[in-house]
Symmetry: C2
Subunit: 196 residues, 2 copies
DNA sequence: CTGATTAAAGCACGATCGTACGAGGATCGC
DNA sequence: GCGATCCTCGTACGATCGTGCTTTAATCAG
């Protein structure tokens, strides 16, 4: 790997963790430079704008999510087991991957009224994730694990709600029982998916 | 009402709407002054710090929420009808009260790693809301609308998830069907609360 | 109406923001 | 090992940030 790309990657990795604490908008070239021990201009040269840095953070987070959550899920047996792995990995990832809150959750609120390529990048990711969940659920229907008339889009919507509620309870309210609440909600979601 | 309080109220009202677009951290004394047609220092004099302004925004949002959501709910008959009204008003409020996204949802992600009185203020509000929902649900249990062994805290958790998922789908993904998804999820939640 | 209080503006401050440019040193292909 | 390319830095810019102070104008109590 050429030197430049190597440094850029290291910067973005740091930026992901900083952004998890202060948000994508809270990211600052100066603070990030101090944090990484580089000069402000040296760091800036790797991105030609702050927007590009933010997009880099989102892209990196996506790579990470795919490696830690999606890949293990796809390695699991099709159907309900795959959805189970997806859920477990997802929840675990949200809990442990970041110094602060999940970058994607924070970005979703920060960017909902900020048109531009950063928002576009996030929307694409979130949309893909939604589709992936629906697809996995559809696989479970095909395998006969879930009932045939299951609305897989609805399931994806409600699963997203469980993850968001978990994030909210665990990170803002510091509720130690948030994980168990989420597990219980997910179990109920599965149960409803099996039979009407 | 004395003049000062009147102006302060007008500023905060404006600030709520601005914050709904740019977030609590995105709020800026200068931009807000321009937006309200005041001088920066004249505006600043009403709060002695930016933190106080942010707390003011949260407090005002709470007043608004209580008036538009909680009060009508408490006016409805105890039990399931009251929870139904609470849900409907809440969803409607999230959809129509703000120029941008819900201030509280955005603040939850922005402040989860920012200790201080702004965060404390938000946590208190969110905690109270959670308690209120649980209390309303407990009333429905007492009325015999919901099953006796219902975990009302779990219901409050899952209802929060539905609202967050709705906000996510409607505001970030611009999904026109988000409202219906939320309604469907809430209906399922009620159904599960009635009988195991 | 008048005297005391208060609201708002003007201006200034140090700090930090994102971004630009040019020079020096390191890295790499050959 | 040399020449071209690519990093990284120092420095600088205009703008804007949050927050003081001082002065004028409006409000309010008696």
């Amino acid at each position: 790997m050429p030197k430049g790309a190597q440094t850029r990657r290291a910067i973005v990795d740091d930026a992901v963790q900083v952004a998890s604490k202060v948000g994508l908008n809270g990211l600052t070239i100066g603070q990030l430079a101090t944090h990484t021990g580089m000069s402000k201009s040296g760091l800036f040269a790797h991105f030609q704008s702050k927007e590009a840095l933010q997009v880099g953070v989102l892209e990196r987070t996506r790579e990470w999510f795919v490696a830690d959550v999606m890949a293990p899920a796809l390695a699991a047996p099709r159907g309900e087991p795959r959805l189970q792995v997806l859920y477990e990995r997802w929840r675990n990832w949200v809990d442990h991957a970041f110094d602060g809150g999940c970058v994607l959750v924070a970005a979703a609120s920060e960017l909902d009224d900020t048109p531009g390529m950063v928002r576009d990048s996030l929307v694409r990711m979130e949309f893909d994730l939604h589709e992936s969940i629906a697809t996995v659920a559809a696989g479970a229907v095909r395998e006969g694990h879930f009932r045939a008339d299951l609305d897989v889009e609805q399931l994806a919507f409600e699963l997203r709600g469980i993850m968001l509620a978990h994030h909210h309870a665990a990170r803002l309210l510091r509720d130690a029982g948030a994980g168990e609440r989420a597990d219980q909600a997910f179990a109920a979601l599965l149960s409803r998916a099996r039979s009407a």
